[in-house]
């Protein structure tokens, strides 16, 4: 990255700045910890005339997403942000946003779902949306949250995609901490995202459309398959957007996930979000001891890059998937994806599932080091392990 400005910014500030630079026509939101400051900063930018957007802080998240769908259907570029209970309350309309093919970009500051009520980070909120039809990108740090928000805009609005995109950042760990981040010049971002030209805007009175009507058994299925096709188009489109973004930023995105010291690794962990940063430190330390360890960090969780991840994992000895949410009565959501990606292969790594960090429970380097130690044991029992939980 060469042409930008290095600054010390919180996760809230980078996302609010990305939104300012994208300059959506409409933002509709409702406050919730740990998201609130994103919309507060953005409201300040609007009030200061730094961005020409309409912000409406409506009476609930259900209303926020409804207003977003209305605005996007009208043909306006639309963004929102939420977390936890807010996303849960939005959920009915998140499905509508996806199926009505409205390219809304939303930030989710990951926070545990109630109950019991808790304001700290885990991924139960965004994981609950994994079947909604929204594209999901997980960022490791403020820089990724910023860059994904910009790329999300292009991805969402791609002609053969037209789906909402959720950019997640770990609540508090990323939202409330100040990190060095590099913002692109405003002008470069507006050139990159371009003008949004909605395909069937409701406000196009010359070409009236009816949107959202009743769908009977004779067509509902096919309409769902159109959504499937749109999702299938995402990986290629994301790679293309990355390439264009790299040209602009000097960055080096080139995949649907990041691999860290994976080439010759025998043992690997797979982690979403900020904890991947901690795992990198552990990988470095163990490498110094001569251990062949690595990390795989999915950026894209929906659609899940199963084939690509399988290719990276097949020759490994053992792999641990660290989930930051539960799917009660089953394995962790990330584990299920990886396990299904590897199914049907004769020679594949031993695969294990760990749950960590629920409700903001801290995870430390030595705990990740212990996971790598576990993996070296060829007789390790295949069962869910809960890192740092009193049992």
């Amino acid at each position: 990255m060469s042409n930008g400005n290095k600054e010390v910014l919180t996760g809230h500030q980078v996302v609010a700045n990305a939104m300012r630079q994208v300059e959506p026509d409409v933002v509709a939101a409702y406050p919730i910890t740990p998201q609130s400051e994103i919309v507060e900063y953005f409201s300040q930018y609007v009030a200061d005339g730094k961005v020409d957007s309409e912000v409406i802080t409506v009476e609930s998240e259900h209303s926020a997403m409804s207003a977003c769908v209305g605005s996007a259907a009208a043909g306006a570029r639309t963004m929102t942000a939420t977390a936890s209970q807010g996303l849960a309350l939005m959920m009915e309309i998140v499905y509508i946003a996806a199926s009505m093919r409205t390219p809304i970009v939303m930030a989710v500051a990951n926070r545990a779902l109630s109950g019991p009520i808790n304001i700290h980070c885990d991924h139960s909120d965004s994981m609950a949306a994994r079947d909604s039809g929204v594209i999901q990108l997980y960022g490791e740090d403020a820089q990724e949250a910023y860059e994904f928000t910009l790329m999300a805009q292009r991805l969402a609005e791609s002609e053969d995609v037209l789906l909402p995109v959720m950019v997640t950042l770990d609540g508090f760990t990323l939202t409330h901490t100040a990190q060095v981040a590099e913002l692109l010049p405003d002008r470069a971002v507006s050139d990159f995202v371009g003008e949004y030209d909605a395909r069937y805007p409701l406000l196009d009175v010359e070409n009236p459309t009816t949107q959202g009507p009743f769908d009977m058994p004779d067509y509902y299925f096919e309409h769902k398959l159109q959504q499937v096709d749109a999702m299938d188009n995402v990986p290629d489109r994301f790679l293309q957007v990355q390439e264009e973004f790299n040209d602009l930023s000097g960055g080096s995105y080139d995949g649907l996930f990041e691999t860290y010291k994976m080439d010759d690794a025998d043992y690997a962990v797979i982690i979403l979000g900020s904890t991947a940063g901690t795992a990198k430190v552990v990988v470095d330390e163990l490498r110094e001891e001569g251990k062949k360890v690595g990390l795989l960090k999915p950026w894209l969780f929906r659609p899940f890059p199963a084939e690509e991840i399988k290719d990276v994992l097949l020759d490994k000895e053992a792999v641990a998937v660290l989930d930051r949410s539960l799917s009660f009565g089953s394995s962790g959501p990330l584990y299920l994806e990886v396990s299904s990606a590897l199914s049907g292969e004769d020679t594949k790594p031993r695969l294990y599932n760990y749950t960590y960090g629920l409700g903001g429970r801290d995870i430390k380097e030595d705990q990740i080091a212990e996971v790598f130690e576990d993996l070296e044991n060829p007789d390790l029992e295949d069962k869910m392990r809960y890192i740092g939980a009193r049992q």
């Binding site: 409702y30 406050p31 919730i32 910890t33 609130s36 400051e37 919309v39 507060e40 409201s43 300040q44 009030a47 200061d48 912000v55 802080t57 009476e59 609930s60 209970q85 309350l89 109630s114 009520i117």
Partner: protein, 288 residues
């Protein structure tokens, strides 16, 4: 052990044995509470425990329900049956509680954002149905807990974290809303009117039907300091100066303006009787 020390030990139990009148209704082990100094929430809770005490409502007959917010935290401090519901859902939860246990004295204690933004729909429907419960709204004109954003009761022109140059939306006038939705008891007081609040709570708790008490309360942290209202005590002083007691007046005239000189109408606006939801349901079904 010296005699001197012994003597000290002997007098100690006497000194600490006097029980605070509110204690029996509160979970002492949860104290101190989380509220800021100068916040009006502590005195609102005291008024409520005093009202329970005065009415001699057995602790086992009380259910306190709140949503999420600084005000919502109150439920966790009550030694009664209490439930901290999700944001906005205190009233439907309380409705279920009341229907399953019609003898219970159900109090909803929650904030302006909880009851009138995200939960606004429930308020008007419970009032319309005249479900027998008392709703106490601590109105501090903002979403205190999440950092002072404007909400449905923020006066026009007031500064909030989401309205840095003033809120341009029209706020609700809560007594008017409650009265028009069908509440059978509607009163408004401020944190400076501690005795009046208690009296209003006693009346509201004694009524059968949907009763509503609004308490205008300082939130120096979220609202006061952004709007040049000073400390909590300064806001109380301003209430002393600004409020005019007008019992039985038209709640439509009870709008709150931001202007620190503007009059604020307080008092009892509505005291009425009509069959409660349970009464109507029982009568109707018996007639079938």
């Amino acid at each position: 052990m010296t005699t001197e020390l012994k003597q000290k030990e002997e007098v100690k139990p006497e000194l600490t044995s006097a029980e605070h009148p509110a204690t029996k209704y509160l979970r002492e082990e949860r104290l101190p509470h989380i509220w800021c100094s100068g916040c009006g929430l502590g005195s609102a809770v005291t008024s409520l425990t005093n009202a329970y005490e005065k009415l001699e409502i057995p602790i086992d007959d009380i259910g306190v329900v709140s949503g999420i917010g600084c005000t919502g935290r109150a439920a966790g401090y009550f030694e009664t049956d209490s439930y901290h519901t999700t944001h906005g859902r205190a009233i439907p939860f309380a409705t279920g509680l009341k229907l399953s246990n019609p003898e219970m004295n159900v109090t909803v204690f929650s904030g302006d954002g909880d009851l009138f933004a995200i939960g606004g729909n429930h308020f008007i429907h419970a009032a319309r149905r005249n479900v027998d419960m008392t709703v106490i709204c601590v109105n501090n004109y903002n979403f205190g807990m999440t950092g002072g954003q404007f909400g449905p009761t923020t006066p026009q022109g007031a500064t909030a974290t989401t309205s840095p140059y003033g809120n341009y939306e029209d706020p609700f006038n809560l007594p008017d809303l409650a009265a028009s939705a069908g509440a059978i008891y509607v009163a408004r007081w401020t944190s400076v009117h501690a005795r009046r609040i208690q009296q209003a709570m006693e009346e509201a708790l004694s009524k059968r039907g949907f009763s509503f008490v609004e308490i205008l309360s300082p939130c120096p942290t979220g609202y006061g300091r952004k709007n040049d209202l000073g400390e909590g005590i300064d806001e109380l002083k301003s209430y002393q100066d600004r409020t005019v007691i007008k019992h039985g007046s038209d709640p439509g005239d009870a709008e709150i303006e931001r202007d620190p000189e503007a009059e604020i109408v307080v008092g009892k606006f509505v005291e009425d009787d009509r069959p409660t939801y349970c009464d109507v349901a029982d009568d109707y079904l018996q007639g079938q």
